[in-house]
């Protein structure tokens, strides 16, 4: 049957092992790991709903030119601050721009800022945290201190500083979010590494003389991926809220570019707030819905990747 039985005379022990093996084969689960993850995620109703909302908003923003009937930038003087109608689904703003189109196009930028900053900070945080957490020593010490400096810096002051120096732009905003955001994910990745570092499979890899980068990034990182994905989703939501907040204050993306925050910015006017609810309510609802859906996805991912929860 096998090479081993050819090279070695069959003993009674082989027969014993065959029996054990058959018994174990029967017990062995047939489900694969990937499948288990997916089924656990799909069993979480909120996560699935969250994912559906997330996908719809993303797709609508992505295909905004096909869906929106109006240009988000061009004012229409004959339709200023009109309530929702068949022509303008979400109404128009004070310069007569179609709000539905602006929400769709704004979604592109807001999601880009949120997701982009989250992915960039994850990239930086993971690259530094995984390696320094595994090797430890002075490298870890330095990385920790640097992250503390970045995290202790009040974000709003950093924003004001950079806006003053570099001016307002989309890229600057992403840079600011990345600089202030990487510390959190770095610490999480590092903490994960510290706890897997003593696992015996890591020791075994070391005993083969594999290099630290290979052990850390190839073998250990996959075991920290669950919490990292959760962290990315949650910080996407947080960054989108921050973008809205900063843009509302007029410190975010330049007002000429539609973003969810910039649309909300119009609601600074008390008259708009009281009389033109359609200018701020739809976009506010979209932000809430999007952030909520991302958080549901994050929770679903957390549960699905948590090995202590059997699925």
């Amino acid at each position: 049957m096998t090479d081993a039985t050819v090279t070695r005379p069959r003993t009674r022990r082989d027969a014993q092992f065959d029996r054990i093996r058959d018994r174990e084969a029967k017990l062995a689960g047939t489900t694969q790991r990937k499948g288990r993850f997916l089924s656990k995620f799909l069993n979480n109703r909120l996560a699935v709903i969250g994912f559906a909302i997330f996908a719809v908003i993303c797709l609508m923003s992505l295909f905004a030119p096909l869906i929106a009937q109006h240009d988000p930038m061009s004012p229409n003087l004959r339709a200023i601050a009109k309530p929702p109608s068949a022509e303008h689904w979400f109404g128009t703003d004070k310069t007569g721009r179609d709000i539905f189109a602006r929400v769709l196009y704004g979604g592109r930028v807001s999601i880009l800022v949120g997701l982009g900053s989250a992915l960039l900070s994850a990239l930086i945080g993971v690259i530094i945290g995984v390696y320094s957490g595994y090797v430890g020593g002075w490298l870890d010490w330095i990385a920790m201190r640097i992250s503390e400096i970045f995290m202790s810096f009040p974000q709003i002051i950093l924003v004001l500083l950079l806006v003053a120096i570099l001016g307002q732009s989309l890229v600057n905003l992403i840079v600011i979010f990345t600089l202030t955001g990487w510390g959190g994910i770095y610490r999480m990745a590092r903490a994960r590494m510290l706890s897997i570092r003593e696992e015996e499979y890591v020791q075994a890899l070391r005993s083969f003389g594999l290099g630290p980068a290979r052990i850390a990034y190839k073998h250990m990182l996959p075991n920290a991926l669950g919490p990292i994905m959760v962290n990315i989703t949650l910080s996407t939501a947080a960054f989108i809220l921050q973008e809205a907040g900063l843009s509302f204050l007029g410190l975010g993306v330049p007002l000429s570019i539609p973003t969810w925050g910039n649309i909300l910015n119009a609601a600074q006017d008390l008259r708009v707030l009281e009389q033109n609810w359609w200018i701020w309510l739809p976009v506010g609802a979209t932000i809430s819905l999007f952030v909520l859906s991302v958080n549901f996805i994050g929770d679903g991912l957390r549960d699905a990747t948590d090995p202590s929860q059997q699925g």
């Binding site: 096998t2 090479d3 081993a4 070695r8 022990r13 082989d14 014993q16 092992f17 065959d18 054990i20 093996r21 174990e24 084969a25 017990l27 062995a28 689960g29 694969q32 790991r33 696992e199 015996e200 499979y201 020791q203 075994a204 890899l205 070391r206 005993s207 083969f208 003389g209 594999l210 290979r214 190839k218 073998h219 996959p222 075991n223 991926l225 090995p307």
Partner: protein, 336 residues
Amino acid sequence: MQPNDPILTLRDVQVHFPIKSGILKRTSGHVRAVDGVDLDVYRGEVLGLVGESGCGKTTLGKAILQLVRATNGTVTYQGDGGETELTTLDDAGLFAFRKRLQIVFQDPHSSLNPAFTIFGSLEDPLRHYGVKTRKERRKIVGDLLEAVNMRRESMDRYPHEFSGGQRQRIGIARALSIQPELVVCDEAVSALDVSIQAQVLQLLMDLKREKNLTYVFITHDLSVTEFLCDRIAVMYLGKIVELCDAEELYSNTLHPYTEALLSAIPVADLDRKSQRIVLEGDVPSPVNPPSGCPFHPRCRYAQPVCRTDVPQLRRYRGKSGQHLAACHLIDHPLAD
């Protein structure tokens, strides 16, 4: 086994872990996990390393493989290329010797990477040692799995699909994958059911014969070592307190600690002393080891001298003339 052909020589090996405390992370003391071990491992033998939990067995095993570096002392490897002091080498220098020394771990649940298939876990070391093509690696991994009585197809499964015994066999396969000469088995069977234990032990012995291996067999269970080991070293608080042929250890126990350990084994063997000596108290902390003989606070024969003087490992006649023990109260050591 040729008696005087050591593959590994340990001289005064110490591993002290600093204890950092307070916000300033100042070193406030040391855990003396291994505290001055002299030991020869002979080519082809099975050397048992026994002792209670926390006495430094795993640390000593890791120090042999340079997974923790000794804070003092030397570990010398003797191969065809002459002697090499491993303790002085850096990672690059160690590379050539990593291949000769391997380890099988205690915990079958953490010894395999849950994110990889068995093949994924086992192929990287092979690639590292120059097995270039995937096809070759698959063949080698398959052969290894068969050598430990597992199905070839197991290589594409994930660790959680296997039982503890199976995982332990996979751990053994991994350790053997680059054809080492010496394997440290750290409590390789302790986590398994008794019925599975016997079979994994038998497997280890068969593999040893086939591949001419040398084992350092770490365990806290003296009932396993008797039929398995050629020699046994008994450790207490980071020190070796008795070292001799396995048979000799059971028939002519010298050290009071060994005596207590042996008396704790449930015996079917009626001519052995069956009175159980209960060790009082816990193992003292390796941070503040007792003065003198580390065993004196729990020793029922303790004399004043035991409190003050550290006993050296001395040679006694025994059957083989190679019985080492560290105790003030055993008379007639051989002059060296």
